[in-house]
Amino acid sequence: MSDALRDQIRDFILENYLFTSDTAAIGLDDSLLGRGIVDSTGMLEIIFFIEEQLGVKVKDEEMIPDNLDGVNKIANFVSSKRQAA
């Protein structure tokens, strides 16, 4: 996983859910749901972001917290999908 990818995901979450550029506002392993950073429609936005900005399609069965609930989790998920492609 590249740092650039992780930063891109983190910046998207900071900008859209925490409304700040302060990178200390979120830990890379923080749970987005557990911390109340995103709600159900927020999760949809994250999926749109992954598909449109990161170019990775998310299948229904992949929409699980293990893949999407945190910066590192999303980065790992996207990296592995890209490698598989």
């Binding site: 900008e15 409304f19 749901l33 109340g36 995103v38 709600d39 159900s40 429609t41 929409m63 699980i64």
Partner: protein, 619 residues
Amino acid sequence: MIAAIGHRGPDGTGFHIEPGVALGHARLSIIDLGGGAQPIHNTDETVWISYNGEVFNYVELRQWLEERGHKFYTHTDTEVIVHLYDELGDEFVHELNGQFAFALWDRKRRRLLLVRDRAGILPLYYARVAGGVAFGSEVKTLIASGLVTAAMDPVGLDELMTFWAPVAPRTVFKGVSQVAPGEMVVLEGDKLTRRQYWDWDFPGATAHRRESQGVLEEELRSILASATEIRLRADVPVGAYLSGGLDSSTLVALLKERLPDTLETFSIGFDDAGLDESAHQRTVAEYLKTHHHHVQCSRADIASVFPSTIRHGEMPVLRTAPAPMQLLSGLVRRSDVKVVLTGEGADEVLGGYDIFKESKVRQFWAEQPESTWRPALLKRLYPYLDLTSAQSSAYLKEFFGIGLANPEDPVFSHLPRWATTAQVKLFWSDGLRAQVQGSAVERLRDSLAEKMKPLAPFNRSEYLEAKTLLPGYLLASQGDRMLMANSVEGRFPFLDHRLIAFANQLRPNAKMRVLREKHLLKETMRGRLPESILKRYKQPYRAPDAAAFFEGNAPDYVADLLSESRVRSFGYFDAQKVNRLVAKLRKSQVPSARDNMAFVGVLSTQLWHAQFVAGEQPL
């Protein structure tokens, strides 16, 4: 002071001033149109009252008093109260069936009573000032007196941004209290005492009524009939709100039996198809053959009326839902109707809310926290949402699993909702954050824990609604204030205290059978309403939120109040975060619930400050 609430009583003003007290009144005449000027006094003029509301059983009370020798000089319900006080002392309040807020001055004992109805339908505010208290139906009167300076109570705002409204006696105005629902505040000399004369009273967890459903249906039918009947007492035309849901449809069906040819009904519809209930409203209006009036509400209408909505509501809100209610009461007034009956309260009293179901499922799930199919039941609760595969059980678990480890927590039922709402506080400025110590949830839990501990879980969630959302928001921001903005009186048969007392004693399962809401009410109304209404999924009343302010040419106040300099100068929010939120919403097709609430919360707080604290627009 009285001019500030002229909208509540455009039909006349009156004053009584004597050493120790000054009473003022703005009258909306509904009973005894010619003879009811207030303040009103008892026979020897030692007891005086300034009164807002209705005592619906005044006919019976007057007869009882006359039998005991009392003489009356008006035909009002108001005069009955001073005589009842003469007869029974402070216990008089238990005899009143109605909605009321009043100040009663007893010259002989030199004491002032401030009394509010049981459910909190009508508002009453007070503030300690040099030498006594100032009081009024709206905070505007206190500000106009010059004795109170408007400023935000940060703790009140914290409660609002958690529970949707401050919990009585707190308000969002520093130094201003509200008389709590079912409370009597007594001022004697310099001593102020609060006394709860009535409360929602649930039996212990195993002590509910056990009669058969048929018996309970019969009793509900009889109480509802009486509650509706006495609410038709008025010397002006009476109409009804019709939302298209079960509660207002029930009410309209009951009214139709009493007003077969003259019943006027009023509805609001939305251009946004997902929120619009016009088709259901038409179904009921046609089925019951009412004279139906309808107002269509666009996004632009909401943006345009919103500053006035906040001016009337006197506190920030997290949804725009009050604004269309203001347009609806305007329609009523234009139709020359002064009084409307509404179905508000049925969900709280008879088990209608999703949060009750949600809590039931979460209780069920807490028994086996590892189960995946137990939380999946939550999906059945929200059929009107765009359910997608993203809302899998795993996500439901994250949203609704909060507090699962401790289902005995008295506020267990409301933790997910409050946590979601409190996300709005992300936008607070550091300055505001520093002014709020402790947690709103913990304060509420501490204050209610003892009362709630013996209750069944279902009753606990009902009690929390009765203490927070119902009086604080629904009956205030969406109820009284939006009605009175257009000088219309609302009446609430489902909040008749006899009905509340009856419903409080029912087994939770009688109200909500498994996950079927308002089971007993539905069964009671079978055959009297279209099946399509009885079978409908409950659709919560919603209006377009942030979207209302981003379409076409938004009114100038929106950009002005959300500008960096204004946000900074008012001091409540982080200007940079607000900027980013606005930028995000401008691009967003489907704003999230949190972003919607945050936007409406920020904008309405800015409007509140501009109008009340900065005094920029006339109050």
